[in-house]
Symmetry: C2
Subunit: 254 residues, 2 copies
């Protein structure tokens, strides 16, 4: 009786997310048929699903008929644990960093084997911004990534070290043994420096953000495009800000 293949379990909820995940930073607006293609769902099904999502406010429809993620969803999602609450606690310190350095200041958390950028403060004349809020980046190259990796659970570190370490510039560390030594140093110093490991013209200094119990839950960084002495100049500032943030956060959770 079982003709063809047997599809596993295309549950309703999974399909809803297949649709929502079709949207990416690169293609934030999609037509119905594109949506169906990307979610690999029959057009008819997508049509019905999308109509329901639209009614619920999770999707918005623009004048030309294309769809975008709706503000309603954004509103709900801003309740995510490390979303707004962490952001709000850390923002004043990012501002301090920005005000002192007038360089890009960022805040990120670890999601699996990547950094997820939660917040960024940019000058009006932002230069070569690679990252964006809501964007992701590998753990082994950026300053924030190194801090988060250095303090990640042991198995995560192992997986990353054993995995492919993608090269971005001549300075990117792709040797697992060297990366391991760097991570140890980051734990010792409390600060990570990424010197042209992401792009040829940028350097960043990052420091951990901890919760009340000392667990590292995020990292902040300042990215500069000037010479190497910038790192030295910024380190104490970053460290101070990170310490301050830790205190602020531990104060928050009554």
């Amino acid at each position: 009786m079982d003709n063809e293949e047997m599809e596993p379990h295309p549950s309703r909820v999974a399909r809803v997310f297949a649709v929502l995940e079709a949207f990416t930073p690169a293609r934030p607006t999609l037509a119905l048929s594109e949506l169906a293609r990307r979610a690999s769902l029959p057009l008819t099904t997508t049509h019905r699903l999308v109509a329901e999502l639209h009614r619920a406010g999770a999707l918005e429809r623009q004048a030309d008929g294309r769809y975008r993620v709706g503000l309603r969803l954004w509103e709900i999602a801003s309740l995510a644990p490390r979303g707004v609450p962490l952001r709000e606690a850390a923002l004043p310190f990012l501002e301090d960093l920005y005000e002192v350095t007038h360089e890009n200041a960022q805040l990120g958390v670890r999601e699996g084997h990547e950094v997820l950028y939660i917040e960024r403060i940019t000058g009006r004349h932002a230069v070569g911004v690679l990252t964006r809020v809501g964007g992701r980046f590998p753990l082994h190259a950026s300053g924030i990534g190194l801090v988060l990796l250095a303090h990640a659970p042991e198995h995560v570190q192992r997986e990353v070290l054993e995995g492919r370490l993608r090269r971005f510039t001549d300075y990117t560390v792709t040797d697992p043994r060297r990366l391991e030594r760097i991570l140890a140093q980051v734990r010792r110093d409390g600060v990570a420096i990424s010197d042209r490991q992401v792009t040829d013209d940028a350097m960043s200094v990052a420091a951990p953000v901890t919760d009340g119990r000392g667990t590292v839950i995020a990292a902040m960084s300042v990215v500069a495009t000037a010479g190497p002495n910038v790192a030295v100049r910024l380190a104490p500032v970053v460290r101070a800000a990170a310490r301050g943030t830790s205190r602020a956060l531990s104060a928050q959770r009554k």
Copy 2:
């Protein structure tokens, strides 16, 4: 045949959102049974639904078994039209405002009959912050609200003017005719001033943010807790920032 009442249409998608909307800024973490109660769904159904949402990453489960909105959802939602894109464009200008005034600077859009706050920059010593990012507030009292209302479609203005104008302080404008005159003035001046209309000790100056075609899509404000002359001092700054933002935004949409 049709016994009892006939339930309307408890579609799957609608239920998913009933669950997600059970989370509010006031109660960002919920136990399963609370979730079921708030979504008014049978416990069993909620259990299954929540399990699926958890698998999809839309909900996270903390150590104590309670649920929170997941980062995965936040990531998707940051693609919302007036979410990150507008934020990113406006943030440098909010920073300028903050740097000049060291008062709270905010960015909001209109959602129905309310302001939805998209972004806020706060000093470390934030005083009496009523609003939060992702939070809502009526249109008729705050500076941002007045700007957005003044430039809202005619029918929205009518509905708000005919509706109940909630009083927050002795200065809150609750007379529709007076509010109408104020809105006209806001359109003429290009700036709205809310003088103790929200709380007794705060005043804000707000200006519209327009897209490339001149349509008002958001508003920025500075809130101060000092005397009335602050308004006069800040108005040109706000106006300049708003003009700058408009330009930045129109440049963005190629």
